[in-house]
């Protein structure tokens, strides 16, 4: 296949720990990947959604008559049609309780707008026609009569007593008020502290902008009453169940298929309004109905990320020991809680702010509000990057304010490896990690000591150089129950079935390496099945950096079950006692003899009809369910150097070094790719990505021409190194790596920017540190 690998020969090439090339690549590189819009379903009609052009208003009427008479139009659906067909409300994602014990106030949200429109992009109707062009033309002929109301877009403004109210059922626009920790103890620690560092942060809203726009194709078979929905997701099993619930149908009557997915970053994980609309249309019309978002629509219909305003405070004693940490503020979840989520603004602030430091107490008090904006969902890290951003900016600022070396301040407060397991002030129990050693390696690899000379060289060119250090730690999502299915197929291949889903991570190679290592089956015979809900008995899906923990461990445990079955069958085949049969490197052997049978040969004998006694298993196949494991705590140290041009405000990332502890690496090449991608997304949020709304709720940064996504010339070369402490909380010893790049990059980049500007008296700059913002900061305005 023209992709030669270096290093070990034979089976060792595909063992865990090797940088095995991705199984998916040949297909994707030849342009043979099949993303949803690439599928050709004969006879499919095309759907186009009609969306609100005002941010807030009372929906007085929808006139669809003109559209219905346009050429090629097959149907125009509104909320009334969905209700008539039994479609229920979209899921309510916020399950937290208020301090008084009352549940979060999730507003009712139907797939198409009822009563009011609440953001620019709110879907009001859907037009289905024979061609996409006909549907687009007819969608323009749908007239929406809206009585405009005042809009609110800023989360702090949404809390004002006179703020426009989005829902009667959400008083004060507050979905949930969230409290964590011993507020009185924290208050006491602050009152007696030698020094308090306080910073107010705007955690800027970002547009997720996966390169593949969302798309879906629905079809319905009247003969068996089953729906099929082809779409990009982060896991078909959970998505099937959630969509079926909205549709009011039994889950087994919906088959959810996901092929290639062109990026997601959390965004494609929720039940969007388009999906039930397409299913209803397919059932009514008796033909497949397809829909692909236009990019301009994606900016208005895909969940956004981040968007919070938080004040973080750190109390220190005279030597710089951390005494207490407090985070208070407000997070924006956008116009509703079906795509809008609370986790980034609540529990993930708790779990991901105190980081690698001994800090006796912490308190978090936040409110999650609705606004007239695109719903804010999970985006790479979902609270993990922002928590680390708050903490590492606080540490850097405290060091400057107290005149303590920032490295020394970190070393003074780090949890030490001999203190593991460590119960942090967040309540999280860290199982492993060598934070001092990770810091030391990062300083060495980044040539920390050479910074002064580089700064002088920059100064000679009229540029301000800054160096930023950030030592992050994040709590990954605890892996939920996940399927590890292993099937020995008739064609001699081995199928792995699991419910996490690849949208760029490279699961097939990594999971194949786990199975090949544990079972000794040839790597090239292993196939991964992940995107067909009919093949799964359970599936937690991808999200929160958990796939290696969930599916990796599910597959490893499934392999052990295969071996258990295999020993019994092999004992019969080898005419030996079960206790005498051992499994080693792909073969069952009778101990102390040369009698053995390879696992693939045994599978072949079973296929050929090996005549087994009734009490023996008939196949080696296993449908195992991994019961889950605790969160893991990936951590690492990022060192970033920037150059700022004081005349233009332009920032250039010049050097970037990262040392990560991701535990045991299944495939180092894939892991490094995840780190790179996360870091550049972090650089994007820190320096470039500015999601601007005007006061009326119009998204001004609504296209790739207005919204700055990092391009090749904006990204630095990144020096990556692994400094693993294997996780003690799961059998493979792996830690999540998918989101960690963002967690280190936000603080490292912003610490570097502030460091560069410090000589001009600057103490803090908010993200995104665009040239305009830097220039204005330096101009004192």
């Amino acid at each position: 296949m023209d992709i030669e690998t270096v290093g070990h020969a034979g089976a060792e090439r595909f063992a865990m720990g090797q940088s095995v090339p991705r199984t998916e690549d040949p297909v994707l590189l030849r342009g043979e990947g099949r993303y949803t819009d690439d599928l050709d379903l004969p006879g499919a009609a095309h759907a186009v959604f009609v969306r609100s052009r005002v941010a807030h208003g009372i929906l007085r009427g929808i006139d669809t008559d003109a559209a219905r008479s346009m050429p090629g139009v097959l149907a125009v659906l509104t909320a009334a049609d969905l209700a008539a067909d039994g479609v229920g409300l979209l899921p309510k994602t916020v399950s937290l309780a208020n301090p008084d014990g009352s549940p979060a106030r999730n507003p009712d949200r139907a797939a198409l707008a009822t009563g009011r429109v609440r953001w620019v992009g709110d879907p009001v109707a859907v037009v289905i026609a024979g061609t996409a062009a006909e549907a687009r033309d007819a969608a323009e002929a749908v007239t929406i009569d809206v009585e405009t109301l005042p809009a609110v877009v800023d989360p702090e403004a949404a809390l004002a007593p006179d703020a426009p109210q989005l829902y009667d059922a959400v008083p004060g626009n507050v979905v949930v008020e969230y409290r964590y920790g011993d507020a009185a103890g924290v208050e006491a620690a602050f009152a007696s502290a030698h020094h308090v560092t306080r910073l107010r942060f705007v955690n800027n809203r970002v547009v997720v902008a996966a390169m593949e726009p969302r798309a879906a194709i629905a079809s319905y078979n009247a003969d068996d009453g089953r729906f099929t929905l082809r779409m990009g997701s982060q896991g078909v099993f959970g998505m099937r169940n959630s969509v079926a619930k909205v549709m009011g149908i039994p889950p087994e009557t919906l088959r959810l298929l996901t092929g290639n997915v062109g990026g997601s970053f959390g965004m494609k994980s929720t039940v969007y309004p388009e999906y039930p609309c397409l299913l209803v249309a397919a059932r009514r019309l008796g033909r497949p109905v397809r829909w692909t978002d236009e990019r301009t629509e994606s900016f208005l219909s895909d969940s956004h990320g981040r968007d919070a305003v938080m004040t973080a405070e750190l109390a220190l004693d005279p030597e710089g020991r951390f005494l207490a940490l407090r985070v208070t503020g407000v997070g924006n979840c956008g116009a509703h809680t079906a795509q809008g989520v609370a986790i980034p603004h609540t529990s993930n602030v708790v779990k991901n702010t105190v980081g690698v430091y001994r800090t006796p107490v912490m308190a978090v008090h936040t409110r999650v509000v609705v606004t007239n904006t695109v719903p804010v969902g999970a985006y790479r890290g979902a609270g993990r990057p922002e928590g680390n951003y708050y903490m590492e900016r606080l540490v850097q600022t405290a060091a400057a304010e107290m005149g303590i070396d920032p490295v020394a301040l970190r070393r003074l407060n780090q949890v030490r490896p001999e203190e593991m397991p460590w119960t942090a002030a967040s309540g999280q129990v860290y199982d492993s990690g060598d934070f001092p050693a990770v810091l030391s390696e990062a300083l060495e690899r980044s040539d920390w000591d050479g910074f002064a000379a580089r700064k002088a060289a920059s100064a000679a060119r009229g540029l301000l150089r800054g160096c930023g250090l950030a030592q992050y730690l994040e709590a990954t999502a605890p892996p939920s129950p996940e399927m590890g299915g292993v099937r020995f197929e008739a064609d001699g291949t081995v199928t792995v079935v699991t419910g996490t889903l690849d949208y760029g991570q490279g699961h097939a190679a990594a999971f194949g390496q786990v199975l090949s290592t544990r079972l000794g089956v040839p790597f090239e015979r292993i196939r991964l099945v992940q995107g067909d809900s009919d093949r799964l008995v359970v599936g937690g899906g991808t999200g929160g950096s958990r796939s290696a923990m969930a599916s990796g461990n599910a597959i490893a445990e499934a392999a052990a079950k295969v071996i258990e079955k295999g020993i019994r069958i092999a004992a019969f085949a080898l005419e030996a006692a079960e206790v005498d049969v051992e499994f080693d490197r792909g073969a069952f052997r009778v101990a102390g003899t040369d009698r053995a049978i390879g696992i693939m040969e045994l599978a072949g004998r079973l296929r050929d009809g090996l005549d087994l006694p009734d009490d023996l298993p008939a196949t080696l196949d296993v449908d195992h369910v991994f019961s889950g494991a605790p969160s893991t705590f990936p951590n690492g140290c990022h060192v970033c150097e920037v150059e700022v041009d004081p005349d233009t405000g332009a920032v250039r990332v010049d050097r970037y070094t990262v040392v990560d502890d991701f535990g045991v690496l299944i495939n180092p090449m894939l892991v490094e790719g995840q780190a790179h991608g996360g870091i550049v997304q972090g650089i994007g949020q820190a320096l470039m990505e500015h999601t601007v709304y005007d006061a009326e709720g119009q998204l001004l940064a609504g296209s790739f021409m207005d919204y700055a996504l990092p391009r090749a010339a904006d990204a630095p070369s990144i020096a990556f190194a692994s400094h693993p402490s294997p996780a003690r909380s799961n059998p493979l010893g792996v830690k999540g790596c998918g989101e960690a790049g963002c967690s280190g990059a936000l603080p490292a980049v912003m610490n570097a920017v502030v460091d560069a500007l410090a000589e001009r008296g600057v103490r803090h700059v908010d993200m995104p540190a665009t040239p305009l913002r830097i220039w204005r900061t330096l101009a004192g305005g």
Partner: protein, 157 residues
């Protein structure tokens, strides 16, 4: 007005239906089944639809199909020398671990082909410049750049 247009696509003459505004991308994807070029933005910014027209990298979403008569159009489907083979650019990207979700990749491959045709040994800056029209949200670009720069280096042994 829709007319028949004869296009030279990957060395074959193909007849398609197009009016004066039909984008080349629509013709490739919807009529010829060549879905390697992706619809990422449809307004010429993201680069996922990049193909070669007379050897130059071009946005298929902005190119008017009718204007492409008589010009040589090359899409990613033409590159690999066989069903189980990869073009050297494709192999280099796989070795470097440069592919993640893959949606931008056909465009990146074609942009790299256009660059290497005029500059067989590009340095890092030249590669980053050549890829400046190819958005990638997954990779951070490092492995893409490394793979393409590596193609210009003399190979050992």
């Amino acid at each position: 007005m829709t007319t028949t247009v004869r296009l030279d696509v990957n060395g074959e003459v193909r007849e398609v239906r197009a009016d004066g505004a039909t984008p080349l991308l629509d013709v490739l994807r919807d009529q010829l089944g060549l879905v390697g070029a992706k619809r990422g933005c449809s307004y010429g910014v993201c680069g996922t639809c990049t193909v070669l027209i007379d050897g130059m990298a071009a946005r298929a979403c902005l190119a008017v199909a009718a204007d492409c008569e008589g010009r040589a159009i090359e899409t990613v489907e033409a590159l690999a020398p066989g069903p189980d083979r990869l073009h050297p650019i494709q192999a280099a990207l796989a070795r470097a671990g440069a592919v993640q979700c893959g949606f931008c990749i056909p465009g990146v491959v074609m942009a790299a082909r256009a660059l290497l045709a005029v500059n067989p040994a590009p340095d890092e800056d030249a590669v980053r410049e050549a890829l400046s029209g190819q958005m990638c949200r997954c990779s951070g670009y490092g492995a893409l750049v490394e793979a393409i720069v590596g193609m210009g280096r003399p190979q050992d042994g």
